[in-house]
Symmetry: C2
Subunit: 407 residues, 2 copies
């Protein structure tokens, strides 16, 4: 039986993260790979990308119409129209066709008066050289920077890279994240053949965090690899995490980070690596473990769904962001009036789940239940009201800033 | 040779879209499928999803500690401590363990004084029945709505569905979108073996829009199927689009929607289906074709990258949104001061690409080149300043609302 980890020393959130990143410094190194541009949506450039071709790579008609020699139109006007003969004075061009010597300007179809079944054309305006001609390199010049480094590739970027003659690019590789559910009491209803609605045994807990983590890792641009549940067995856990830390870029261990008598995780991590932080001054999410094994980040997270979610967002996401090159989007915030007083332990940062509703024309923040076990509150919540360390309460009627949960 | 489509009648954007959706009414029907919850990230529920199990499904310890009979602690205090004997007065419990008769309350580990090597425990406070016990159904009750219909599934939802005993759900099926690049002048540098940097022939245009569309369709929750370029051949185009309209949920045909002499698309679509709209009062993006073939939406879009991008966003995205069940996120907007006067044709809605920069402490909107061929401007742009129909100009120094391009 493992010893209970009572009285965790709680480190403030930012301090915990910065200590962890410092400890990982030099070990948390992104990998890169070369991929096809057409498969690069959402990937992040490792370096600036510069054009390999001019665009257009020839002088091109910018309009459908005819290519002409500008010089001969010089005195043309309504009162002095000019007749042009196909093949001699003009050639028909569509948008994108090459405009070659001796032609140097395009007149758009809308401005032409056709005669003699299209063999002759009358115009009533002069044109200047290069009119409606896109010049070599007008859109993109060889060597021009198309994308900066650390740019997350959008659909328009894919189009532009190809136009600039670039078919492959170097991007951050997708980090592989091992996800371990742990606990002898855990059951996996995805893999089990339990018919829907059949009640599991008392004391058996349906495992769901590892599936949530799979989705969170995917959303963050990583590749999740979820393992079967590890029962509470010190040697087994030790063996499995050691192997994962050798093979994966990051390891998540869910549950087993608290003070339960079977919570081996922290002891295992101390034996095979270094525990940088155990216990963070945040609620929910307090008993998080930030460790390093074989130079890899290994994070132990609490079992309650809300705690599991918040500890991923707070600690795993910044680590993944280093590996994927993706910047973390600042959370959208909105101001609302608090419907009722909320209190907090001033020693911790508390995340109070909030449901937003219009009440008498005013956006109102309704606090949802704060027990981290009431998981539905996270699904029902629109965002969090964050009471930072030192804050004991916020009164009803006060205007608060709500951090919105992404949909 | 196809006739030139001169003088398109331009329909305002909203009118064009609403006419198209009306014409599609009853034919644009989403399909549904049942999938595993753990693979449902980003999918959209077809109907409300209700819990199949209570959570917890038994009375569970909410803390690590001991389970006791609350009644025997009734007069306990600092001055009147109570000694408890393992197996008789208490059992050890971890968070999540079942709390069964005769026990009905939990005392957390932090409040226990261990004696006799843990066989006896002293407490100094009374406890109330149900203290630190999570009751059957406290988090989730059988039949309770977990997710509403048309809900896009997030990582937290996956966790919650499993906790509620739900392993499969019905979601909107992923619409299949056929993408056809067209034009005899087009080259596919992804498929070609052209070494990077080798300049293609004059008049040959590097195809990129179909790859941008693949990415746009993916981002919108559809499955793109890109076909090889169709040369300008009326019968071939007709044959291919007819087949695609039978097999796919939506068809995109890029280029061939303008007034070029080889622009067969609109004529093909008139022959095999109904052209609802040809020409929209927007710039760039004017020569768009909104058609219906075999009850399926078939959209012909212009060739210039910016026009191709905007016509997808304006017309293909709302159609896809019906098929995927995903709501279209309202564009984020930001106010900025215009750096220079911009003018527009009042007959069209014009999208002016804007680069945002701080200038003398003020967010300033710098208009980028407006020729739809200068594709780089879309990559460099932070957003659009939209000059609606009727607007002839906006003066330098005026505050404008910029619609941000998603990163």
């Amino acid at each position: 039986m493992a010893e209970r980890n009572l009285n965790l020393k709680l480190t403030p959130v930012e301090e915990a993260l910065s200590k962890y990143l410092s400890a990982l410094d030099g070990q948390l190194v992104p990998k890169f790979e070369i991929i096809s541009v057409e498969e690069s949506l959402g990937r992040v450039t490792s370096a600036p990308v510069c054009a390999k071709l001019n665009s257009p790579h020839y002088n091109a008609a910018a309009m459908d119409g005819i290519a002409v020699k500008a010089l001969i139109t010089i005195n043309t006007s309504e009162s002095n129209p000019l007749e042009l003969i196909e093949g001699y004075d003009f050639i028909n061009v569509n948008t994108g066709d090459a405009v070659c010597e001796p032609y140097n300007a395009v007149i758009m179809a809308e401005d032409l008066i056709y005669e003699d079944n299209g063999k002759k054309i009358k115009i009533t305006k002069s044109v200047f050289p290069n009119q409606h001609v896109r010049h070599i390199g007008e859109s993109i010049k060889i060597g021009e920077e198309i994308l900066s480094a650390k740019h997350k590739i959008r659909p328009v970027d894919i189009g532009m890279l190809l136009t600039a003659g670039i078919t492959t690019i170097e991007v951050y590789a997708i980090p592989k994240v091992a996800i371990f559910p742990t606990g002898s009491e855990i059951i996996d209803i995805c893999a089990s053949n339990l018919p829907m609605g059949e009640v599991p045994e008392a004391g058996k807990i349906i495992e769901s965090n590892s599936r949530m983590y799979e989705a969170q890792v995917k959303q963050a641009g990583g590749e999740p690899v979820r393992f079967a549940t590890i029962p509470d067995n010190f040697d087994l856990l030790k063996d499995v995490i050691t192997k994962a830390a050798a093979e994966f870029d990051m390891v998540l261990i869910n549950a087993g980070s608290s003070a339960g008598t079977e919570d081996f995780t922290v002891q295992v991590l101390r034996e095979i690596g270094e525990v940088i932080i155990h216990g963070v001054a945040m609620k929910p999410g307090k008993p998080v473990i930030l460790a390093i094994v074989n130079g890899k980040p290994v994070i132990g997270t609490p079992g309650y769904p809300v705690s599991a979610f918040l500890s991923f967002e707070t600690f795993a996401l910044p680590i993944l962001s280093v590996l994927t090159g993706r910047s973390i989007k600042p959370k959208q915030k909105i101001e609302a009036v608090l419907s009722e007083k909320i209190t907090s332990t001033p020693k911790q940062r508390e995340y109070v789940r909030i449901r937003l509703e219009q009440l008498n024309g005013q956006l109102t923040a309704f606090p949802l239940t704060r027990h981290s076990g009431i998981a539905m509150s996270l699904v029902k919540a629109d965002g969090f009201c964050i009471l930072d360390i030192g804050c004991e309460c916020i009164e009803a009627g006060e205007t608060v800033s709500i951090e919105l949960i992404e949909s």
